[in-house]
Symmetry: C2
Subunit: 255 residues, 2 copies
C-alpha cells in the first residue's frame, strides 16, 4: 500500500495540528509520499515585500515576483521545516519540487482569455513514475512542495491538491494507493458551524447533483473523485488525528 497524503491550509499554520499530523504520518505503515500546499506564509511574505496579489476575474495571477515568493516559502522554508521535523522523528525524507529529478513535469497554463502567469497544468505523463518509485524503494519519503517545472528551465506554481491526485493516479500502476486529503476539519461538513457534522461518505452521483452544498470544497472534491475514477483504491478527506486506514471518523469518497 502506498499512501499519498496531501496537507495544506490551516493544518500547516497551526503548530499543534501540524505536530499531530507529523507524528501520525511518521507512524503510518507502508510507503508514503507527502504533498504540501502553502499556508499563509507566502501571503505574509508577499505583503512584507510590498507585493499584492493580482486578481483577474476572481483568479490569482502568478507573475514572476509572486512565483519567487512561492518558491522561497514552499520549496524553501516550509519544505525544509517539514523535512527537518520528519527526520527528527526518524522518517527519512527527501524534500523536493517537481523539477528535482524531473519528477513532476507540467505545462504552463494555456492562455485563453486570461494569462494566469507562471502556473503549471498536468497531463497523464507528468509524473515520472519510475524514478519516483526508485526513491521510495530506497526507503525515502518524497515530500513535494507545490512547485513543478516545464523541463525548459522554468519553475511553475501548481495546485497541491492536483499534484496529489496525479501522483496517486500515476503510481497506482505500481502499488495500491490510498489518497488522503488531510486538513483541519474532521471531513466534509454538512454545516460549517458544526465541526462534528461531517459526512462519513460521499458518493460521486450525489456530489455531482448537490455540489452546491460543498462550499469551498469543490476543487478538492473534483481532484479526489477524478483520482477514484482513474483507479485509485481509496480516497479520504480527514483530520490528521484520523490518518489511519481503519479509523472511520473521516469522509470517505466512493463512486
Amino acid at each position: 500500500m502506498l499512501h499519498v497524503v496531501k496537507i495544506g491550509g490551516k493544518l500547516i499554520e497551526d503548530e499543534f495540528l501540524l505536530d499531530t499530523f507529523l507524528k501520525n504520518f511518521h507512524k503510518l505503515r507502508g510507503s508514503k509520499i507527502l504533498i504540501h500546499g502553502g499556508g499563509k506564509y507566502a501571503s505574509i511574505l508577499s505583503k512584507r515585500l510590498g507585493l499584492y496579489p493580482k486578481i483577474v476575474k476572481g483568479r490569482r495571477i502568478t507573475n514572476m515576483k509572486t512565483l519567487e515568493v512561492l518558491i522561497m516559502s514552499y520549496a524553501g522554508l516550509l519544505n525544509k521545516a517539514l523535512v527537518a521535523s520528519l527526520e527528527k522523528l526518524g522518517t527519512s525524507t527527501l524534500g523536493l519540487s517537481g523539477a528535482d529529478g524531473n519528477l513532476i513535469q507540467s505545462i504552463r497554463r494555456y492562455v485563453k482569455s486570461i494569462d494566469y502567469g507562471h502556473v503549471g497544468d498536468f497531463n497523464k505523463e507528468s509524473v515520472n513514475i519510475k524514478d519516483l518509485y526508485s526513491l521510495i524503494q530506497l526507503n525515502y519519503v518524497p515530500v513535494f512542495c507545490a512547485i513543478t517545472h516545464d523541463a525548459k528551465g522554468h519553475l511553475l506554481n501548481t495546485n497541491a491538491d492536483t499534484i496529489a491526485s496525479y501522483i496517486a493516479i500515476s503510481m497506482k500502476e505500481i502499488e495500491e494507493i490510498c489518497l488522503h486529503y488531510c486538513f483541519e476539519k474532521r471531513g466534509i461538513l454538512r454545516n460549517l458551524e458544526d465541526a462534528n457534522s461531517y459526512y462519513t461518505k460521499i458518493n460521486f452521483d450525489n456530489f455531482y447533483k448537490f455540489r452546491i452544498f460543498y462550499q469551498g470544497m469543490i476543487p478538492k472534491l473534483e481532484n479526489a473523485f477524478y483520482a477514484l475514477k482513474k483507479g485509485v483504491r481509496k480516497v479520504n478527506i480527514l483530520h490528521p488525528s484520523s490518518l489511519f486506514c481503519r479509523r472511520k471518523d473521516k469522509t470517505l469518497l466512493y463512486l
Copy 2:
C-alpha cells in the same frame, strides 16, 4: 572519478558566468556533486524585509529571522533555479539541504565567548556516505545548498566551502575525488588588479608561510588544503571555463 564542485559569490550572481558554469558542469564526465553558496540575494532579501546583519567582533550572527531568509534564498530560490537549469540541460539533479535524507548532519556551533546563532559545524561523521552514494548510483547529481540540520529538528546555516571539503573527504572512501572550488577568477591571484596573475600551483608549506598574501582566500584555502591532507586526490581553484581536469589555467593545490 567523483567531482565535488563548489560554486559561490559572484559566479552565482552573474547570469553569463553561471550559464558558462552550468554548461561545463553538465559536460563534466563521471559522477558529480554540486554545492552552492549564497550570492547576494539573501542580503537583498534581508534588507527588503528590514533585517540588518548582526555583527559581533567582525563575525555575522545567524539569528532565527536571518536563518529563515537564508533557507528561503538558498534552499528555495537559488537551489531550485539551479535544479531547473540543469534539468533543462539534461543533467538529472536532486536539490537538497543537509536535512534531506539526513545526508549532512551538523552540530550547532559551541558557544565560547560569542554565540553565532543557528550555525552548524561538522565532524567526521557528518556526511551520510552510504545514502549519498545510493543517490549517485541512481544517476542523480545531488545539488546541496549551505543549510544542514542537527537531526533534532533544527536547520543550521553552514559554510559552503566547508560542506564541499567534508563531502570530498568523506566520499573518498568510495571513489577517487577531484574537488573544484569554482569562482569568478582564474585562480588565486598574486595581484588582485590583474586577472591573469593567478598562481598555477600553491604548495601547503608556502601557503602556511605566506598566508598573509592570499587576501580573503584564507578560509577557502584552509578548507581546500584540509581536504588534500585528508586524502582527496586533487583540489583546484578555478574559473567555470576551466572546469575540466586536463585544463591547466587554474590554481592547483598540492601538499
